[in-house]
């Protein structure tokens, strides 16, 4: 009979006390794992979405964080716009001719290659500010859903669950076509063919009822903030009342019925603005130089979403993570102490049992090992139960989390390593398809629990070690 079998029998003998002790450990680990998983999900959600296929965002001068949060995550509010001509600086003459094909030559002016057009893979304008219910409206071009590719760089990143992409011009719907994200569809019940009216600047009392858009496509869930957005044709966006830039010789509030805007003609370039431009460059060196050139000017700024989010994590999330880690350690310690108290309290009743084993020939280290074994079984057993409980809990909450964050949770998906720990591990290991998946903070918990069990089990084990056999045998049973 091994030490482990004897320890297990001893645990079974005190089934109630042992169960309560293991349960306390399980609760502690459940809490710790759940916190780590939730934190990991938030981190994953932010970091994944800060790398959506473009490396730079151009926007009006101001805070870079606000620009990224507003453009990438559809949080915060846009402050200022950029002139459309600035967007043209990222396009070749040919690209501009294609995008402005429906515009009369006199309205678009003379076209030429943009200053930054070289070394640019693509530039996509976005216009923000309006909402549909509580969802952001994004005025953009159809290429938004065409140029972004999945990781294999062949398949498109965005798929349509129903319908199709919107067009710049459609004979039936004109400029007023829209595509909605999966969460928008599920929460609003909108279907292909339904009409949507945007609230100007998010004001529910100022609805663009004169410019309804027709839903022509519903996106499949992508796990990105785009699931929670309504995409409309940018040409239609410009034609909504209040979206044309007011010219100096024009009265404010010019609308579709006004002299300068026709619902069938694209808005002239001089009246256009864009909120931001999503840019992908050929290479990072050019990206840095582009960023410097633009940021030195007084028209716009360029931010790198990955860098901005990394900074956000470094300065805001990392302290929270440290706090969580401290809480985690404290929870584990409390659970460990409860195991210590439970086993230690039982030692008085067990002195005779230990003395009997010693009288049968068990060595001091053997009885010490048995008590340590009990502590390890309770800690690790409780720990594994808590770990599985946390995963089951989050897995059962998966549909809700996915709806809120777009992050899908697998039953045994592990919480990622904290960044500071990740950088300490060689890339060969992290990037290894087999070993890499096990690089998780959760897998630090199990050895940590073993260590904790040994630590907390040591005091009662030492008491067992020190038991005076003759005295314990002489005492009444």
């Amino acid at each position: 009979m091994s030490i482990w079998q004897i320890a297990w029998r001893s645990i079974r003998q005190r089934a109630l006390a042992s169960s309560l002790t293991a349960f306390s450990m399980a609760l502690g680990v459940l809490l710790v794992t759940a916190v780590l998983l939730v934190h990991g999900l938030i981190t994953k959600s932010f970091t994944d979405n800060s790398n959506l296929g473009y490396d730079l965002i151009a926007g009006a001068k101001g805070g870079k964080l606000q620009l990224v949060l507003n453009t990438t995550f559809y949080l915060s509010q846009p402050v200022e716009n950029l002139p459309y001509t600035f967007y043209q600086e990222f396009l070749t003459k040919e690209e501009q001719e294609n995008e402005l094909a429906l515009m009369k030559p006199e309205n678009r002016g003379e076209l030429k290659d943009g200053t930054y057009a070289k070394n640019i893979d693509f530039a996509i304008p976005v216009n923000l500010g309006d909402t549909y219910q509580h969802f952001r409206i994004v005025g953009t071009l159809p290429k938004f859903f065409e140029v972004f590719k999945a990781d294999n760089e062949v398949d498109p990143k965005y798929h349509f669950r129903h319908g199709r992409n919107f067009k710049v011009w459609d004979d039936e719907h004109g400029y007023f076509e829209a595509v909605i994200g999966s969460i928008v569809a599920s929460e609003t019940g909108l279907k292909v063919g339904d009409k949507i009216e945007a609230a100007h600047g998010g004001d529910p009392n100022d609805v663009h009822s004169d410019s309804p858009f027709i839903v022509v496509g519903i996106l499949a869930p992508s796990g990105t903030p785009n699931d929670r957005a309504v995409f409309i044709n940018m040409e239609g966006f410009y034609l909504m009342s209040g979206h044309a830039k007011v010219e100096e010789n024009e009265r404010p509030g010019a609308d579709v019925s006004g002299s300068t805007i026709s619902r069938r003609k694209p808005l002239p370039i001089k009246q256009r603005e864009v909120t931001a431009i999503l840019i992908r460059t050929h290479d990072p060196v050019f990206g840095r130089s582009l960023k410097n050139r633009v940021n030195e000017g007084n028209v716009a700024q360029i931010a790198s979403p990955v860098y901005v989010i990394a900074s956000l994590f470094e300065f805001i999330v990392k302290p929270i993570q440290t706090l969580l880690l401290v809480l985690t350690i404290m929870i584990c310690l409390v659970s460990g102490i409860s195991i210590l108290v439970s086993i230690y309290n039982s030692m008085n009743d067990r002195k005779r049992e230990i003395a009997i084993m010693r009288a049968l020939g068990a060595r001091r280290v053997t009885v010490m090992g048995i008590v340590l074994g009990e502590s390890i079984i309770l800690s690790v057993g409780g720990g594994i139960l808590g770990w599985m409980g946390a995963h089951l809990l989050l897995f059962s909450a998966s549909p809700f989390v996915e709806a809120q964050t777009g992050v899908q949770i697998g039953l045994f998906e592990l919480a990622p390593l904290p960044r500071w720990l990740e950088v300490e591990i060689p890339e060969v290991i992290i990037n290894n398809s087999w070993i890499g998946q096990f690089c998780s903070i959760e897998l630090v918990i199990i050895p940590g629990l073993l260590l904790l069990a040994v630590l907390v089990g040591f005091l009662p084990a030492y008491t067992a070690y020190r038991t005076d056999v003759a005295q314990a045998l002489s005492s009444s049973p």
Binding site: E353, I356, M357, A359, L360, G361, A362, R363
Partner: protein
């Protein structure tokens, strides 16, 4: 088999004084011999057995078993020696409550190196008439059954010396004789030396050799003289 010379043991009283309890100048037991030590309560019978078993350490003197002086062994050495060479039957059976009858016997084997033998454990329980109670827990067994399990456990490692500390004291009269017979017969079959401590004259009378502890122990003699 067992040779004791000039064995002395004292305890420290609560006031810090040393109180002698044992002073045995000479005590021998031959191989396969069966003998009994009698004496009144508190005269040091259990202490003597503890010292022979190596559970406690004497202040001075020698205890040799099969020629090996166990007082020279380390505590770990005595533990191992006890597991491999000695069997111990307690007055209160001292079965472990979380283990079945069979497991209690196997547990006795577990502490001796390479001695775990499930077949022998079953045989021993069969020999003590408990082959139908292998999986019974002590709390479900009668006192007689529990003491029989304790005897089987003590014999599990094929000991050379069996120490029995008042094995019939807590057993009802109907079972007393059965327990004594069981211990004696088994020791005879396996050529085990038996040192039994008892205060029951009925039990003692069945042995050829009966040593009153007062005769062996100079401290007891001195105490008697004082009284």
């Amino acid at each position: 088999m067992l040779e004791i010379k000039n064995l002395e043991k004292s305890f420290r009283s609560p006031t810090g004084e040393r109180v002698p309890i044992l002073n045995v100048p000479q005590f021998n037991v031959a191989a396969a011999e069966q003998m009994v030590i009698v004496g009144r309560s508190g005269c040091g019978k259990s202490t003597l057995l503890h010292l022979i078993a190596g559970i406690g350490r004497p202040d001075s003197g020698h205890i040799a078993i099969n020629g090996l002086d166990i007082t020279r062994l380390s505590e770990e050495g005595r533990d191992r020696f006890r597991a491999e060479v000695m069997g111990y039957v307690f007055q209160t059976f001292n079965l472990l409550q979380g283990f079945t009858a069979l497991e209690n016997v196997i547990l006795g084997m577990s502490f001796a190196r390479g001695r775990v033998d499930h077949g022998r454990a079953r045989d021993l329980l069969h020999r003590v008439g408990l082959d139908h109670r292998l999986d019974a827990y002590p709390r479900t067994m009668s006192v007689g059954e529990q003491q029989r399990v304790a005897v089987a456990r003590a014999l599990a490692n094929r000991p050379k010396l069996l120490l029995a500390d008042e094995p019939t004291a807590n057993v009802d009269p109907a079972n007393q004789q059965a327990i004594v017979d069981l211990i004696r017969e088994t020791c005879q079959e396996e050529e085990i030396s038996l040192v039994m401590v008892t205060h029951s004259m009925e039990v003692a009378e069945q042995f050829q050799r009966v040593d009153p502890l007062e005769k062996l122990n100079l401290v007891a003699q001195a105490n008697k003289a004082h009284a």
